[in-house]
Amino acid sequence: MNWARRAVRTVFEALESVLDSVFGPELNPLCQLGALGWFLFWIVAASGIYLYIFFDTGVVQAYQSTEAITHEQWWAGGIMRSFHRYASDALVLVALTHLLREFGLDRMRGKRWFAWLTGLPSILFLYMCGITGYWMVWDRLAQYVAQTTSQWLDALPIFAEPIARNFLDNASLGGRFFTLMAYLHIAAPLLMLLVMWIHIQRYNHARVNPPPRLQYAILGGFTALSLAVPAVSQPPADLDQLATHVGLDWFYLAPYPLIDRLGAGSVWMIVALALLLLTLLPWLPRQRPAPVAVVNLDNCNGCARCFDDCPFSAITMGPRTDGSPYNQQAVVEADLCVSCGICVGSCPTATPFRRATALVSGIELPQLTVARLRDELACHGERGALRAIAFRCTHSAPLRAAVADRVAVFDLPCIAMLPPPFIDHIVYDQLAAGVLLAGCRQGDCYNRLGIRWTRLRIAGARDPYLRERVPRERVAYSWAGARSPAVHASTLQQFCDSLAALPPLRRGTVVTKREVWQARAKRMAWPLRYAMQALVLLLVAGLIAALSTAPSIQLLGPQESVITLSFSHAAKRRHECRPLTDAERALKQPNMQHPTDCPRGRWPVYAELELDDRLVYSGLRQPAGLWKDGVSSMYRRFRVPAGVRRLQARLRDTGRPAGFDYQTARTVDLRPAQNLVVEFDPQQGFEIR
């Protein structure tokens, strides 16, 4: 599984590098997928509420009202419909990309399994929203969706009668399904919202809003797309005269052609295996857990900074247990702690300076204590020998440099584990001339908030502050994904050159400059950058517009028609009913004194369909129910060449060993694309219409 993860990661890092140069790290859409999902959900919900005001349920009214919304008020309803469709498609794109990316970046194993597992049902609900939505319009696509979905569901042995029988022909179609679809189409997004909310419950400061500029760009893009390529219906559904082609929304309906081609059972098998694999992924292979953070009550006064900064809600503030006068203490939830060390970086007692008592922080990672970090720093040569000390996040790229002999590199599980006083200590105690903080790709911290907290702490905007006295030209960042070591190497080289040119450190000076040292980077000129941003948005919009209706699939050949064979029939009982005597009836409860005793159990129904003296179907259908006393039912469609055909249908519903109880024969003239229904009714026998 690791090779697949590495391959996905490499592809994403390459894509992100391109988008970084176009959008900048803060607006890179690939680093905002979760937040974009929320934003798109609200667009779909808002536009859906508007459409529902004007939508009418019913066989005819559904299509008519949708047409009226689309054309009579194109300036509002039409645009809303386009927003609804395109935002829904974009949501699928974003959700699946998010899933793939989290897999590639390995952010779903170990303690992070929860978000992965709760994300899966939200994707299933998303598909349910899309399928019920397309069903409601009742155009040719809705007809295809209704018939294929019901055939797919009928493959599950949970329905007494096939759902597909509701869509036999125009005559058998009732309005109740449209009301049901409307309810399902409202229930599914509400359930999806609930699951999305659960999905982020273990995340502190979960990002649910993309940056405003990205929001404006998306809204503008959808408006332009709605005007240029408005979402419209296909021709109205007609169950008697079928469509030969139908344009699919491939974001939602990509598996549907497989149902036709491989059969409903096979597609269920594929879906079940895919879901099983996705469910097991967080444990393939199992991640070895690192020791979790430990609270030292002698140094914890319950200030709650670790609670505020923990990205995974692994720290709670509980009542004091050591009898000290403090009200609260930090408590680490071992099941949630990913051992990132961000809590250590936030602890006000995590200072490297010599103390009268032992150097123990209020919260520590047992495998890398603050004292150990301080001691390891002290071991790195004489004062002033090092040009720079680099702290590297282990989830970032390896750090190799041409100036390696004058640079010491320390690995941390997250760059935000470094308490800011360490930088003060390194610079002023002259362990090195400057400090490089080398973390994950900007906007894409493996531990979610490490980069954000680090930048804010260094900028003096989030506790614990890096003291103002530390000259910021002696501090540098390098943000690079695991596959981009050249970024770190180049930044470190430039930073060391810059440090060499600095004048000696002046002490006791309050430094007002808040910006850290910046590496020289080639930046696109703004007109080119905006043009490239527009081009990327145009490409994505074009992809969404194109795949939402095309390519179409062929349902029937030009000279093909369909014969639908269906019945729902209770066969004869296996044992005849026997009249009860008065004495037997008297033994029963008053409300159960039936005049006859009818043992449960019915014969299966055997049916045959012959076309031009060729048997196209023969099958035994068992009665439904645990006691096998329900109806036997079937629904099958046969694609046959159009033209004059001799058709024979036969059915046996008794225990006779041979022969048939009902049969019919007729010559029919099948028009191309005609749907000829052969239905059995016990009162009237076979009906061909």
């Binding site: 200030c303 900074r305 009200n327 006000p348 103390r355 003291r467 006295r469 002490r507």
Partner: protein, 134 residues
């Protein structure tokens, strides 16, 4: 050399804050006592200052948490004063560590002045707000 003496008016009514205030005053007085020894042991003074710095930072963190919880209107100004003291302590520590000379009188005056002034102004106002909160 005059240290800081705990006075009843320093009491905030919050047990955890008072406990830390008393602890800090003890630490400062101990540091001042180390300075008064002749000859002053630089490493001991360094360690005492390091302890003061760590404990003061933690205490300020707790106090700022309380201000945030009570939505104290002057928490920005109050925090600014905290940060000013921490910068001051670091400057003193740094001067000591690099042999720039340690002026005991100046050190004593700076710390005592800051604490007394901070207790009298910022903390007094905050404590009033704490007392008024439901």
């Amino acid at each position: 050399m005059t240290g800081i003496e705990w006075r009843p008016e320093f009491s905030t009514g919050l047990a955890e804050v008072d406990h830390e205030h008393r602890g800090l005053i003890d630490l400062i007085n101990a540091a001042l006592a180390s300075c008064a020894e002749v000859p002053a042991a630089r490493r001991e003074i360094e360690a005492a200052l390091g302890e003061i710095y760590a404990r003061t930072t933690a205490h300020f963190a707790l106090e700022e948490r309380l201000m945030e919880r009570l939505e104290y209107d002057q928490r920005k100004e109050h925090k600014h004063d905290h940060e000013r003291l921490l910068e001051d302590i670091r400057d003193i520590m740094d001067g000591l560590g690099h042999g720039a000379g340690f002026n005991q009188e100046l050190f004593s005056a700076r710390l005592v002045r800051w604490f007394s002034e901070h207790f009298r102004t910022h903390d007094a106002r905050f404590h009033l707000r704490v007392a008024m909160s439901p």
